[in-house]
Assembly symmetry: D3
Homo-oligomer: 244 residues x 6
């Protein structure tokens, strides 16, 4: 089966890191295709970047859908465009944020999230509330590292993230940690070993969840909020996705 | 003061109706400018239409901001792009959905929403939960009328909406009604008279709330989730809004 | 239009300060009448003072209603007697506490309240929960200043309030501040400038919200909990408000 | 020990019924004193009646406190003035509404309330939310019987209440019933036998809970919201309760 | 009347302490029988000990039920097996955890719990959420004392518990304290005197609540989740409790 | 990898059906071992059966743990003993109830559960609240079929379940269905085809989730509520699981 992993930002190096994390956990018969749009922000930090990245993300989802992938992963921890992507897709779509929350909930009573910048905390908190899992999350912490700093060799990113993990275990009574950015995918194993608790990377989590859904033969619900878009005129040269 | 009212869909007739509803309640010194983007869906029905409408909506907000409007109204009941718009704006931004919920909460202990299509219910419910006002809403009902049907003379739209209002008063113990689409702005007064309860139109509500915020001299918070976007590269010819 | 602002305590100096704050934001056509009862506590600090102030407050509301005011403001941050006042009134009634919470919710994802004494925290928290906006409030803090100390020239009140604001911004991740006492109405602008975040005074907020509701032509719901009181005998020389 | 039971309305016949219900469950060593104020509404139906009844209720609580009663019961199902009464009292104060909710929670996973008029539903729902027990209550139903109709021989009150109980068991998955008015105190046993589920009367429940608290030697907390009122001037001939 | 108090662990010394605490508050006509199973863990610390203690606990409940006791108390603060015990019993069953939460809720707006080990915090939090009273609990704290250390003369248990109480009053805005282990039953009076707030012991609280329920003539609901077990085969020599 | 699936009741025919459902979705390299205890109830219907099944269930988990399985599934929809099992296990443990809830949450905004008997509804509702996913569940419905009736050829079970699904889609606005009993594992595909919505069987869901967790290399958190049991004496010939 093919799983399409869409990094909704346009930083190819980050897409490569995501691809590696996805491939590392994929089952033998799974082929992971990781892409990023050609248009849009180099990183997603807050509401505006996220909103601007969605249309190009949806084009990628629609392309994958058209060629029959078994499922999609949205590889931004904010789960950017998840509801719209699910409305477009017949097969399962999983965001790396929600994937990490669900996985952590199966391992621990209470987890904490460590993300990049403070401005992303409200986005993540809104998702947790929406998914219903806010009561499982002790706290969302920010290491105050810009996303692309995670890509820079020699940055203090890992040290700062590790310090926030220590604070979450000590101060928030967290029993597991969720890493709050696709760019942290390479850190999970090392940080888990250092701190002695489960550390969940959303990219890997989402790939295994999509595999699970595909194996179960389950598809996205189409009778409510995720119904396929209605056909309708689009002005200004834009094309919609309405089924005709 | 000038208030910019952005209808995020591209149906000019609906923009005109919105402009009329806004002008009807604006205070003497207020000038309402109602616009819609040139690009995007003819109506917003569900997650995909909403997501695709946001980038052009943000351009309108940025234009208004640049010329110094006193505040912005997003005239789609889904409050499409509200968080992103607030991140772009220094002055207040109010969505017509949230405006109607806040206004209804000041008049009644418990209100119901009557919207267009069932697929919009989850969008509205997510907003109510996010704003904190879900506990004030007895139920979100859909009259199962496509948005543009509200623009068609001779449609059964008003009759169906009226029937849902009656059901909400009888069955949901609602004490006030919120009309769940910008295209219903012309119906509020008549439906209130017929049913003997407050009926709130979000367009009018939002205009008066923006006026209130402007008169209070208050501006959007800029130290948390609504911080201005960070400057960063955008690929593919897209331009972001990062302050430089 | 005339808006009646009732300070439910009997300290005339505080009524004067409230009148000034109200007048400062009222629209050109609005006449603000600020009154306080002749009977009752000099300040409202906790449940008992509040309960004892309500009957005289309701007499003021009934008087305003009788002479046809366009709306009422209850100028105690505890929103003392709000539900009962709404049951008496055909026109809108807004408490300064709820007004501030709603206004702050339109500007920021998350606000904190700074009030006078710790004993008022449970009153305010109960209101927030009741209104549905508890999830928007990071924390209610008390500066431990008696209400009337706010009226005393040379008091440390402002300094202590400012310190609590700093603590809320630093420790509670608040993005906006709500001042939790009518007696703080004169401090909002200065504290906002000092701390660089929106600081909301409830008196001003409530006046603009009542103006908004009046302009919308909306009135208090009368079919549920805010139905007019039923006519009935009152013993001991007391008079009720039942419509006959 | 003496327990003071205050009926906050001024209908002596109802006080007598309450006294009988209280005496019927009191332990051998307990003396129940049931009183009602001389001033105030003949019945409490909605927010206004409740608010007007509180000052006289508090005088009764203060009198009982002064002569050293072991505890107080507020015998209106709305728990009118409960927070203020608790602030006045060193010994325990229990409202009949909260008493019934707590007792029902010890017997069943899920209960329903059957009260008098629909206008009281929001009052009761607000209490349930405040106490934390809203999640235990399947629904608050109104039999649409005025309070004093419960005192009229030959009324249809019992039949209507019984019909609402049947509806709650059938439609709300309720496992126990709470009678939502002090005036229903004489009906609990008969209705329990008829419907085969626990039916809780708040008057009896509150008396036994106050006995329990007294036997435990526990008193009302005095360090937070229930701190004794601060001494302060009262205008217009009113006297406060501030400790001097 | 006879009340059966079951200590679900097998430490006889703790059962004796529980018996003393129960007897100290029982009303004149009440006979308290305190027992512990002959089989099972010496103390209950976490989910596994609790789960293993339940079958023997249920045998004790069934025995008490068979000989006609007026009610049962489960004397482990985790309320181990409470739902199952209630399903077995016609008469009331009260856990000491829930008893303490309900009693504290009648005395204070907000309480804190001080328990033994951190691993019990999630058990207690789950109960609070289930009962609906989580919103009344400021925080569950652990003194990090093993249960049986409470039985050892000369241990530092009381000092550590007292320190946690001080921290709860200072840092959590708690107005009352609940002691989170049956083995702390002898400390409540002393700690209440030292800290000047109500301190609730669950054993005493539960005995008085069962007395109250018995005096009210109320029994456990039998039409929903607490229906008597259905008769059915049990394999491996085990006997169920199904009514035949 | 080996996954241990424990059916906590003692009906071997049901274990065989569970084994088949598990094997049908297991990945190529996965070996599923399905067992049931030799001791305990033939079916789990309500709190008592569940409580009595747990000790033998835990012995099976401990055996699997000792021989190094990659993960455990608890194949009762009530997730009987899940917290205790997780405390015993180093590797992941997933209950079929929680598995189905998480999977449904990835496919639909809102799901309904159809279970066997009404007495199980409170058990399932308690789990949903505990997991945080209650807000995602529209309603838990019971088809009023005893568990073992699902095993009887010619029973009306499937027809009744199908009728409840229809009611959930029509009346509860459910977008997906969760089958609320391990004994329904063979019905999911057929019912999904008939009703045109995702229908989730917990057995299959749990197997794929355990596979996912194992592939991710994640293990159960051991620093909080799921810490390994403390070593301690057990009386009456019982053996605990404390690590020595």
């Amino acid at each position: 089966m093919e799983i399409l992993v869409v990094n909704p930002n346009t930083t190819a190096g980050m897409t490569a890191k995501i691809a590696a994390a996805a491939a590392a956990v994929a089952a033998p018969g799974t082929r992971v295709t990781a892409v990023n749009p050609e248009t849009g922000p180099a990183s997603i930090e807050g509401w505006v970047d996220g909103a601007l990245a969605v249309p190009a993300l949806l084009r990628e989802i629609a392309r994958g859908e058209a060629r029959g992938v078994a499922g999609h992963v949205i590889a931004c921890f904010d789960d950017t465009g998840l509801d719209a992507a699910r409305s477009l897709a017949a097969v399962p779509v999983v965001g790396i944020g929600e994937a990490a929350f669900h996985v952590a909930s199966l391992l621990a009573g209470r987890f904490a999230v460590v993300t990049t910048l403070g401005r992303s905390i409200p986005v993540i908190e809104a998702n947790l509330q929406r998914y219903g899992l806010a009561s499982r999350c002790a706290r969302v912490r920010a290491a105050e590292i810009p996303v692309l700093e995670l890509e820079r060799p020699g940055s203090e990113a890992e040290a700062r993230i590790s310090a926030e993990i220590a604070a979450a275990l000590e101060g928030d009574r967290a029993e597991a940690i969720v890493l709050g950015c696709a760019g942290m995918a390479d850190l999970a194993t090392r940080l888990s070993a250092r701190h002695g608790v489960p550390v969940v990377d959303g990219v890997a989590a989402a790939v295994t969840l999509v595999e699970a859904l595909a194996r179960l033969g389950l598809r996205t619900a189409k009778t409510g909020g995720y119904a396929s878009p209605r056909p309708k005129p689009y002005a200004g040269g834009m094309t919609g996705f309405g089924t005709r």
